[in-house]
Amino acid sequence: MLGYIVRRLLSTIPVLGVVALIVFLLLHFAPGDPAAIMAGDSATPAQLAEIRQRLGLDKPVFVQFFYWLDQLRQGNFGTSLHSNKPVAEMIAARVGPTLSLAVTTMTFSILVAIPLGVYAAWARGRLSDRLVMTLAVLGFSTPVFVTGYMLIYLLSLKAGWFPVQGFASLASDPIRFARTITLPTLALSTVYIALIARISRSSVLEILGEDFIRTARAKGVPERSVFLRHALRNAAVPIITVIGSGAAFLIGGVVVAESVFNIPGLGRLVVESVLARDYPLIQSLILLLSVIYIGINLVIDLLYTLFDPRIRY
């Protein structure tokens, strides 16, 4: 087990390396000379050369890449071209809202989607099953911003239950936090719920065809138990896999949802940095979000053994 964890951790290193290389090259070939941007319009060629040398821009690409990696290792993510603040500081200031939104969305989605999927599997072929599954397809066909604005229209503008936009942190104002986080959570959850519910239904159905289910039924295990103990437990691996791969939708969704609901999180920072062409900031944000995504899937891989004792490495 420990050996597996170590091997799995090591296996993320090449992926991280490739991601870092992609992100580096992406920005390396971006138009515009970072030195010229930093120096301003009135810089002399000598000043430019000095900045280039200081940033290592006069070195070969390959050397620059490893220099950049080394800087990252030391926790130096560079300086924003726009605000001149350290990128790490700007990102740290935005983590809170995004983290809250991600946690509420994940929790809510899992709590709703798995029972929904198991129910649909139980009601297989009936009208309620088809309804749930059609809604699920509708769920991941509707972009977050359309769902978001529908919710704002119905629950904020018409019903007046929630503020239209904005955010307050849990620590500063728990009630306002709950009121502001509800709609973005609902909007983000639809896609996620749809994905998880669909996979829950189909994996439970697949397990229901196994011999041990017939055995369980034959020995008189109550149907409830057949579904929850025997089928769902064995269907756990595909379900948690999709929770992991769905995190990509969640991260993409956060970018959009934060714009819709005016939440000052990382997603908004991504859009702001792109509109401002703040390359060091963009670079760090893509890298950070990718590392988070890789991390989530790493944790999920490790969870497999917990949910399915048959898996031994």
Binding site: I22, R124, G125, L138, P143, V146, R214, V270, V271, V274
Partner: protein, 289 residues
């Protein structure tokens, strides 16, 4: 969705109300998609409105007989814009999806058939797939600047590795098929093995995957345009119309809802058709992600 017939145990209503009657959502989806395609092609003839005609005296009007969906902040006819937007969104979606499939097919054939190329290609694909696709698309546009070509690239790059993975999987499993081994031992040229014996087998999964790639491409374009980093505002696309509608949303929710509903229904139709295709071609094919 899941096939029901071979599952033992309780088979509730399913057995009674089977096959044809449950096909209707797919039929409606096909009909709607055909409708949208027609709108995209002949759209300009359906509306007398000019999607670019600015009329300052006629700003953000509610829907009326003259302007079915009302007017936007510059007094432009929203109905005309949604119709023209269909053309943009559909063309961008189809071109991006087709390019992703072709690129994915080519790279997937390479990776699947040539073990030497495989490791490198798949590491790069893993890397691209580890970057959340919207984030990658947004970043690509940031670097290259938003225009039609760069938006297409921004949609294709995050999308095609999934196709590569699919094609590679098919090719790998085909390599050990007796007929392929026979072809190899008969010194059949490699290109012939690839194109004659292997390519046709990738077709069914590609068509299924293609529908999901198409849905995803249309959504990505809309999201990019909505965030203001997509197509330039002078090209009406569903995402652009919504982006411009945000400011006046409280006053005229239709500015977002009309294009939004068209977008959601189009993607829904494509996904429903994709599900049906998957059930038909290969019920065991991996369920979307």
């Amino acid at each position: 969705m899941q096939k029901v017939q071979d599952l033992p145990g309780k088979a509730p209503a399913a057995a009674r109300s089977r096959p044809r009657s449950r096909d209707w959502p797919v039929r409606v989806a096909c009909a709607f998609l055909v409708f949208i395609l027609i709108v995209a092609v002949v759209g300009p003839f359906l509306t007398s409105g000019d999607p670019l005609h600015i009329n300052a005296a006629n700003r953000i009007k509610p829907p009326s007989a003259e302007h079915l969906f009302g007017t936007d902040a510059m007094g432009r006819d929203v109905f005309a814009r949604v119709i023209y937007g269909a053309r943009t969104s559909i063309i961008v979606g189809f071109v991006a999806a087709l390019a992703s499939l072709l690129l994915g097919l080519a790279v997937g054939l390479l990776a699947g058939y040539f073990p030497l190329a495989d490791a490198t290609i798949m590491r790069v694909m893993d890397g691209i797939m580890s970057i959340p696709s919207i984030v990658l698309a947004v970043a690509l546009v940031a670097i290259t600047g938003a225009n039609l070509g760069t938006v297409l690239i921004a949609i294709i790059v995050p999308e095609f590795p999934r196709v590569v993975r699919l094609v590679r999987g098919v090719i790998l499993s085909l390599r050990s098929e007796p007929y392929v081994e026979a072809a190899i031992s008969l010194a059949t040229p490699t290109w012939r093995i690839l194109f004659r014996h292997m390519l046709p087998n990738t077709l069914a999964p590609l068509i299924v995957q293609g529908s999901f790639v198409l849905a995803s491409a249309i959504l990505t374009e809309a999201a990019l345009s909505f965030l203001g980093v997509g197509l330039p505002p002078e090209i009406p696309s569903w995402g652009n119309i919504m982006a411009e509608g945000r400011t006046y949303f409280q006053l005229r929710p239709g500015l977002i809802f009309f294009p939004g509903i068209f977008l959601a229904l189009t993607v829904l139709s494509i996904n429903l058709i994709g599900d049906a295709l998957r059930d038909r071609f290969d019920p065991k094919l991996e369920k979307r992600h």
